[in-house]
């Protein structure tokens, strides 16, 4: 090894700058480049994302599926929001297709780690993000989430796939409703995650972590561009793991992953992230 390389290795070692290796989750089931948020939580993007491969391996280690309770007609949708009022795909639709994916031959994750499904329960019920669930809507949304769980879990068992499911939400009350509706049998592991997004006034969905008190939160998913060191410390002190979500990857994103070393990254550019991680 040349002297310069030795020095570089020493600097990297001292700085703790070795390449991190979080698992790669497909954000909003729409993670093929180029980014196009208009296709978030749509079945065509979901199918394309599941099929992403790089050098003969699946690019992703898991996928995020959003469920949205539309309050006006009491329907549980597969949707990011109802900005498109023509949206009518049932929330269970991608789970049915995921079951078929599990039944295919071949690996379903990049490194044969368990396939992680993030089931996000959207925290509002109309186009207005301040329009929150009634208690009854919370219960029905929670039951919808368990319906999705059952389809995925049954498929995982039938196909002998190693699958884990995380219920996550910006709303602690929704997670409490999910826990309250836990079915008698749960054939695959599940966990709970809190979301910390853009701060107000950019977005009004995030709750402080103290609002999740009493919930068995094992994952706090944060937007790295808006995370403060205090938030990071709060996550660590809560005993949960840190993960990231974001929309478009910049060098600031890579720097944050190097600095904070999340256990999972929920990205809209899965191939870019995989190629950066494996470089």
């Amino acid at each position: 090894m040349r002297r310069a390389e030795l020095v570089a290795a020493a600097i990297l070692g001292l700085a703790g700058c070795s390449q991190p290796h979080p698992i790669v989750i497909c954000h909003n089931a729409n993670c093929g480049e180029p980014t196009d948020p208009a296709r978030d939580d749509t079945l065509p993007a979901f199918r394309e994302s599941l099929a992403l491969e790089d050098r003969g391996r699946p690019v992703i280690d898991g996928i995020e599926l959003d469920s949205f309770w539309r309050g006006s007609d009491g329907v549980c949708l597969y949707a990011h929001d109802v900005s498109n009022f023509a949206e009518n795909t049932p929330a269970t639709a991608p789970a049915v297709e995921l079951a078929a994916h599990f039944a295919k031959d071949g690996p379903i994750t990049f490194a044969d780690t368990p396939f992680l499904v993030l089931l996000e329960l959207k925290a509002y019920v109309s186009a207005d993000t301040k329009d929150r669930h009634t208690p009854e809507q919370r219960t029905r949304h929670a039951l919808c989430a368990w319906d999705i769980y059952k389809i995925i879990a049954d498929a995982a068992v039938a196909s002998q796939r190693d699958v884990e499911i995380e219920f996550q939400s910006f709303s602690p009350d929704l997670l409490r409703a999910v826990i309250a509706a836990t079915p008698a049998t749960t054939p695959v592991p599940y966990s709970f995650g809190a979301l910390q997004g853009l701060p107000s006034p950019l977005d009004d969905q995030s709750h402080p972590l103290r609002d999740y008190s009493g919930l068995p939160i094992s994952d706090v998913q944060v937007h790295p561009g808006f995370m403060t060191d205090a938030q990071h410390e709060a996550v660590l002190s809560s005993g949960a793991q840190l993960s990231f979500f974001w929309f478009s990857t910049t060098n600031e994103t890579f720097a944050a992953i190097r600095k904070y070393r999340p256990w999972a990254v929920d990205t809209s550019e899965a191939r870019l992230m995989r190629r950066w991680l494996e470089r």
Partner: protein, 190 residues
């Protein structure tokens, strides 16, 4: 490569002292610089920042005509092999007697990925101001606040991705603010 960087720094020092900018590696090189235009000064030194908009320590050199300053910042930190190279070409137009200026330019960040590099092209806009000079030292320092907007990503075998403003999710991550200071040797008169 480290040798080339050392030559670059030596050349910068030579420029600041009014010596020839060429061939810093030439033994005993200390020739006379061509006369600068009236009011024109050369500068070279460090571009430093604490945020993650670019590498924290880079090398900068440029020319200051008084009303207008043009600088190039290059990145030696790719030597530590994090796969990233940040290069800036920035122009500053002076807007006050005190030296405040508005800044515009371009930053190319090359991100090393498996199979190549992705290039992230950013429009950089900002404001800057001089910091007080220290004694009679031929050193100039400036502070700059920037907004860097990632306009397009390309390369690395991935599809080209342009910024869009269709909805917030399209661009919220692509506009980032940062600050940097430059500490440079200069041949500007006091």
């Amino acid at each position: 490569m480290a040798k080339h960087l050392m030559y670059g720094v030596l050349a910068g020092v030579a420029i600041a002292r009014g010596g020839t900018p060429a061939r810093a590696d030439a033994p005993g090189a200390s020739g006379t610089a061509a006369p600068a235009e009236p009011g024109t000064a050369l500068h070279a030194g460090l571009n430093l920042r604490a945020d993650s908009g670019a590498h924290p320590v880079r090398l900068i050199a440029g020319i200051d005509t008084g009303p207008f300053d043009l600088s190039l910042t290059v990145d030696p930190m790719f030597l530590i092999d994090d796969g990233q190279i940040d290069t800036d070409l920035l122009a500053t137009a002076r807007v006050s007697e005190g030296g405040w200026g508005v800044l515009g330019g371009w930053r190319t960040t090359a991100i090393g990925i498996l199979g190549g590099r992705q290039y992230q092209e950013k429009l950089v806009l900002g404001i800057g101001a001089p910091l007080p000079r220290v004694g009679d030292l031929p050193i100039r320092t400036r502070w700059t606040l920037e907004a860097a907007t990632l306009l397009v990503k390309h390369g690395g075998g991935l599809p080209t991705d342009w910024i869009s403003f269709a909805e917030g999710r399209d661009f919220v991550d692509l506009i980032n603010f940062g600050m940097f200071i430059t500490i440079e040797l200069t041949n500007a008169p006091r």
